[in-house]
Symmetry: C2
Subunit: 341 residues, 2 copies
């Protein structure tokens, strides 16, 4: 029996739409709805439609390239998540293109435009701290390009998300500090606007509440960025308070190290006089003196899961609700920079 | 006077070539030499040639996207260089696409194929430690895509390069350790094959020579990678030697921190019994106890210069020799992990 070659007509017939619609859908034309595009492409795959070369370059918008958009690549945190992406996607021959928004909304919008232009198959994104509108996310999603959000939430933009329970991580850390005997736990909070900052601050406040410790705004300093230098002045400000804090919970390890440095300079003993707890468990954190207590996040698993969810979206026929929201729970690691209970 | 519209014919006339050649050159056809392409494009720009839309998408291969290929993004080192790229290229509306080879030759080749596919305007690359053939570099260069190599040399592949004098950095560090009274300086060297490893090892050997200290291979251990864990076993091996080293010069700060950890566990005093010097000056290195002596590299300046050189290549009419080789000199930072002279 001769092998039957699938034509646009066959696809049109199966779906009860016009040949023109099939052709336009395969060319990703704007006038065709996302749903129809997905249906047509799914049927094309099912019938093993082999387009001619010209059509192929149009149909086969598949570039096997995944755009990764992160606020920065400097931290071990995002680098480890990206490692998870890579371990899922590289064996399937996907290439990753990593772009940094550097916490700028404008840059993030540009990056999305560019990723659309180079026709990425999908996007894994952790929004910048300055991003409050998500039209650029929605725009790509509407064009049928799957967008999976990880680590930082995109409030108001619905898609599959892989997040960490920042609230719980902070709550556990602060509750533990109080249990260990600390009475004045200060917080070096993250930059304003960032969902992570907000959730960790809420965890901090609620842990105080649970332990009947009055909340005092003076014991909270926001850092402007996540480098060591960003932590120094806010940490000094906290240590000038009267009464002095006997514990500092920092938004991340880098800032915690700055706090440690400031406290040591004041000739105060860590942890006897001041306990310090960070967040992230950077690879070098256990090598500081004293070794830094911190909240560990399952970074690699976040990367693995987000990439797997993206793969599912790539195979899905529609990008429509209900979307998944996976939330990982972080884990407190008690080391020498804080007291044992 | 009516404004004259430039046509393919005008360009052909100026250059004394056929219209077909001009057209093919603007379409980047393979049969046209790189030199002719550059000449035609330069003339097209000079005459302010405005192609029609179809031609434009072919001519205007400019995508304003620069591919950045690095072995890894986890380290502050590459992240800071990328920051330099960004500060030069973003104001000119270039987008960066960062790809990690993860020290794999195969991955690097794939990345280059992909960057060609998405039609980057140029590439900034630091080769993987496994890369000894550079055909994939040459292939893109032949297609008229500028390739600038930074940090690690691409032996045998000629292009503009921005490098660091690794030899000198290592020589200075080891010479200083000997001057400070150390008699048995060991070296935690990088992975084999890597140009950086080779040059730093040469600096180490020559510094011993200069000071009439016999070279003993037993005092060199190569690490397999650049994470903390990679440094632990080799550092332990060095400390098992008899006589024990009284100084360790490590390939980078991360490995130096592992060495510090191992030495502390043996209850040896740093620097009285063992001096330790790293390479890179990671941002957290000064916060360790004792603060880590290290060799600082002008990472940000490397990024700035490499990006500027790429811009020049983008504007050049040919990608031909002579190429530039810019070599930065690193600087020794003496902190508390090594003795004062």
């Amino acid at each position: 029996m001769e092998k039957k070659i699938t034509t646009l007509k066959d696809i049109a017939k199966e779906l009860k739409v016009s040949i023109a619609t099939v052709s336009r859908a395969l060319q990703n034309k704007a006038e065709i709805s996302v749903q129809t595009k997905r249906r047509v492409k799914a049927m094309a795959r099912k019938l093993n439609y082999q387009p001619n070369l010209l059509a192929q370059s149009l149909l086969n918008k598949r570039t096997n390239t995944i755009g990764v958009v992160v606020p920065e690549i400097k931290s071990h945190f995002f680098a480890s998540i990206i490692m998870g992406f890579k371990d899922v996607l590289r064996p399937l021959n996907y290439n990753l293109m990593v772009c940094q928004s550097e916490e700028s909304y404008k840059d993030e919008v540009k990056i999305f435009e560019n990723l659309l232009r180079v026709q990425v198959d999908g996007i894994l994104v952790s929004p910048s701290s300055a991003t409050t509108k998500f039209d650029h996310f929605l725009n790509l999603q509407k064009k049928g390009i799957p967008v999976v959000v990880f680590d930082r939430d995109s409030l108001g933009f619905e898609t599959d998300k892989v997040l960490v329970d920042d609230y719980m991580g902070a709550f556990q850390a602060v509750d533990y500090l109080i249990q260990s005997g600390c009475k004045r736990v200060a917080h070096l909070a993250g930059p304003h606007k960032l969902s992570t900052t907000k959730h960790r601050l809420e965890g901090y406040v609620d842990a105080l509440k649970k332990n009947n410790i009055p909340y005092d705004e003076a014991y909270i300093e926001h850092v402007k960025g996540f480098s060591h230098d960003d932590g120094l002045k806010p940490a000094k400000n906290l240590m000038k308070l009267n009464p002095q804090p006997d514990a500092i919970f920092a938004i991340n390890d880098c800032i915690a190290i700055s706090a440690m440095h400031v406290v040591k300079k004041l000739n105060l003993h860590i942890p006897d006089q001041v306990s310090i707890v960070g967040f992230d468990d950077e690879p070098h954190s256990k090598y500081f003196t004293p070794a830094l207590s911190t909240v560990w996040q399952p970074v690699y698993s976040i990367g693995i899961l987000a990439a797997k969810i993206l793969l599912k979206q790539l195979q899905a026929e529609t990008l429509e609700p209900p979307f998944r929201k996976e939330i990982f729970t972080p884990e407190l690691l008690i080391r020498a920079s804080s007291k044992k209970i």
